[in-house]
Amino acid sequence: MHRLASPQHFFLDTKMWVVWLYVVGIIGLLVGSIWGLAFVPPERFQGDSFRIIFVHVPVAIFAQIVYISLAIAGGVHLVWKLRMADVYMAAATPVGFWLTALALGSGMMWGIPTWGTPWEWDARIVSTFFLLILFLGLIVLRQVIPNPARATTALSILAIVGAINIPIIKYSVVWFNTLHQPASIELFGDISIHTIYRIPLFTNIASVFILTAGIILANMRYLTIERNASKTWVQPWIQGRDQ
């Protein structure tokens, strides 16, 4: 693991990881989605409209997990000053932004047939919307602060302070009176989803995880090259791309 904390070894070691993560993630996503969309029976109350769960739940879970990981990376940066922690934050922020946007978008699509409205100002939807704004703030703050050392520290602190919103999102369906249903999957508890739906759903959750990791890793490799462009070990890679 220590080897990967150095940009050079990180870059040289992880090339095949990205390929594998992409291949496994895309295959898993195709299997899970086709299975979920075409082969499981319609749900008793919602009919076919429930099938968007196979997109909505995985992206919503990882939108929050990516944010938590940003806060952890921020803590790692503040304590140990690891350069790769900053690279991770820069690489994962846009991914988290798009996952949150997808969670909101798929939720709105699901809301039309089931709730009769794409948008309701309830605690879960609004807090997820604020998660989107948090990601946006992290992206904008990096562009605004010219000094990279200061930008990294500012982003770490903002990510950590913003993490107080994560419990609000997670427990909004429990604490407040929301239109959004409570969680169907608990990590240590009952799963109120029938087994035939569980298998494609878990396939998709795992695939979104693998694919997210792959995209973040690819971003990190790109940023590593960009930030170390003047180093000698990077030269063959840059020249190779130009030829």
């Binding site: 604020f130 704004i133 200061r150 500012a154 602190i157 903002l158 107080i164 407040f176």
Partner: protein
């Protein structure tokens, strides 16, 4: 002793700069006034609406006032000297935070319930609004000061402040406003009130310590 002098300095600078220092409070009264005027029917029948209006306006007022929190000390170089010693910067930061709270938090804590009483809110409900504001306004000052410190010395800080700060205020807004709503509904509110206090103690402990390094970094660039 030094802390008291710094605190006095903050207040004196603010008060001697004239009307400018009272603009956030005038803004607060104006916005609550406009809301109550526009929503006249609803506000006089439903004290929950007025509670929400007061809470939201508190957030906006804090953004308006925080923009200037470190600006003067950054421009005249006080901050650059203070960050040279970690004790000095903590003393300055604590004095600034309390100064800011004295000039915006305390007036809002008094004015919010007062406006409520004037609009025909029951006395207990107004008192509960005052209590949550008393817990909420220092929390808001702390969180806001931290985000403001991240942007010290950047040209375009002001506009950015809005989108960076508002998401941070969501928990205290939800719980502070929630306590009032539950109290008006005669529902149990203890857990929400404890959450407010937890946010207050957490921010008041951690943020003055975090502000030192953040401000130091802002002087490096």
């Amino acid at each position: 002793m030094r802390l008291w002098l710094l605190y006095r300095r903050e207040l004196l600078i603010e008060i001697r700069s004239g009307v400018e220092s009272f603009i956030p409070i005038v803004f607060f009264i104006l916005v609550v006034g406009i809301f109550s005027f526009v929503l006249n029917e609803v506000v006089s029948n439903e004290s929950k609406v007025l509670v929400s209006v007061v809470w939201i306006t508190t957030l906006f007022t804090s953004i308006l006032s925080l923009d200037n929190l470190f600006k003067r000390d950054h421009t005249d170089g006080t901050l650059a000297v203070a960050v040279l010693h970690s004790d000095a910067v903590i003393a300055l930061v604590v004095a600034k935070l309390f100064g800011h709270w004295t000039l915006t938090g305390i007036p809002i804590t008094i004015l919010g319930p007062l406006i409520g009483l004037m609009s025909g809110m029951q006395f207990e409900h107004a008192a509960m609004l005052g209590l949550t504001l008393l817990i909420g306004t220092p929390t808001i000052t702390m969180l806001g000061a931290l985000v403001t410190a991240l942007l010290v010395g950047l040209g375009r800080g002001g506009e950015l402040l809005t989108i960076l700060i508002l998401p941070m205020y969501i928990p205290i807004l939800l719980f502070g406003m929630g306590v009032c709503h539950l109290y008006i509904d005669s529902a149990p509110y203890t857990s929400e009130l404890l959450w407010c206090l937890a946010l207050l103690t957490g921010t008041i402990t951690a943020i003055p310590l975090a502000l030192g390094p953040v401000l130091k970094l802002s002087q490096d660039s």
